[in-house]
């Protein structure tokens, strides 16, 4: 194939395309996002033993810690943790078969399930520990498979998976917008977690559009990007609040 490729060089400051803003002050830790994600993305449930052994398939988890001791004990603000869709992701270069690559079109970290051979190097190298591995073919007895989302591949054993920012919704919105001859409007669609969140603590949108809601929220002064010091260029901004 003699097709020319112009080498795309990413600059350090390059903004991503899609991003999340998470307000930990109003996140109540209710797990609605976790359930929504599971339902949208065909996540397997793994049962008591495996889930207690660090094998649960949550693409998003809500972290909380404790500060102080009784009676001055405080629960730290709930911290939903999902793939940060790094601009410079440590998980990508280590995959020997290009199963996790950077999407030039959507500026996301892709996980190509059918290419994955299961070395799990990406998960080791993910500073956020947000990748889940299909340790087994987890059973979904009939008729539970009726619920599976046809837009999302059902993963089998031996494959790594992770949050995709609901890329199927991104594609669907873009496809719809294109069919109608317009651009995707901010807020036209959102990820499953953001859509479910009763407190609206998760907001999804274009971070490269200064007018979008996420950009506006992201410009508030006290936002934090986790482990930014590693140079991962994460696309999720956290507000601890308080």
């Amino acid at each position: 194939m003699d097709i020319k490729i112009s080498e795309v060089k990413l600059s350090e400051e390059q903004a991503g395309k899609w991003g999340l803003v998470i307000d930990q002050d109003i996140c109540t830790g209710c797990q609605a996002c976790v359930a929504a994600c599971a339902m949208e993305n065909n996540l397997s449930f793994v049962g008591e033993e495996d889930s207690g052994y660090g094998r649960s398939m949550h693409w998003i988890r809500i972290e909380r810690f404790w500060e102080g001791e009784y009676p001055e004990v405080k629960m730290t603000p709930n911290q939903p943790m999902m793939c940060q869709q790094c601009g410079s992701a440590p998980c990508e270069p280590v995959c020997p078969v290009f199963a996790t690559v950077h999407s030039e079109a959507e500026q996301l970290n892709l996980q190509v399930y059918n290419r994955c051979v299961g070395t799990r190097y990406c998960a080791n190298n993910c500073p956020y520990q947000v990748r889940s591995f299909n340790w087994r073919d987890y059973e979904r007895p009939e008729p539970l498979p009726n619920q599976l989302n046809p837009d999302v591949t059902v993963r089998r054993r031996g494959v790594m998976e992770k949050c995709t920012f609901c890329i199927q919704r991104i594609h669907q919105a873009q496809d719809q917008a294109k069919a109608e001859g317009r651009e995707v409007v901010d807020g036209e669609f959102t990820t499953a977690c953001a859509q479910a969140c009763p407190a609206s603590a998760i907001i999804f949108g274009r971070v490269d559009d200064p007018e979008s809601l996420v950009s506006q929220l992201g410009r508030r002064s006290h936002g934090v990007k986790h482990l930014e010091e590693l140079g991962t260029l994460p696309n999720v901004t956290y507000f601890k609040g308080g």
Partner: protein, 184 residues
Amino acid sequence: MFKRLFDWLIQPLGLIAVGIAVLAVFSLAAYGINYTQQPPEQPIQFPHKTHAAFGVQCLYCHPGAAKGPSAGIPAQAKCWACHQQIAKTQTSVLLAPLKQAVESGTPIEWVPVAMVPDFVQFNHRAHVAAGQNCENCHGDMTKVTVAQNPQVFNMGWCLNCHVKSAGDDQEKLVKLSDCGTCHY
């Protein structure tokens, strides 16, 4: 020279080499046969040829192709809408399953031939919108009776066309060749 080669070939190592070569040729042949494999058995020997000859448009029976991801197999009610007015339907042996299905209210079990694997998220609409004709992928239906798959829908085949249609447009190429365009 030839004798030497021959001598070498009858050595055990030479025989192994011969074996590998034979196996390779055999596999290639098998692959070739498989490539042009027979279509699956269908409940009705549906003649696409005949329908196309009557001027029935693809999108009449498969309207989903212009509207969404799946082109779809028409409901038997759609078949019946025309066929109940055609006298031959009552008598034809080939059409008996249709008649029976409609009368008994059981669905006809078709076997789709043009399939992509589960891990490929294919959308007809985008392809139709981009000006692709049905026959570009599905072959000329005016020539076939039972639908056949003219090519293996593999990734190289998809990509070839994607890259070609992007042409010099870098942005389009990036969009069309992104892993995440089809795999998620």
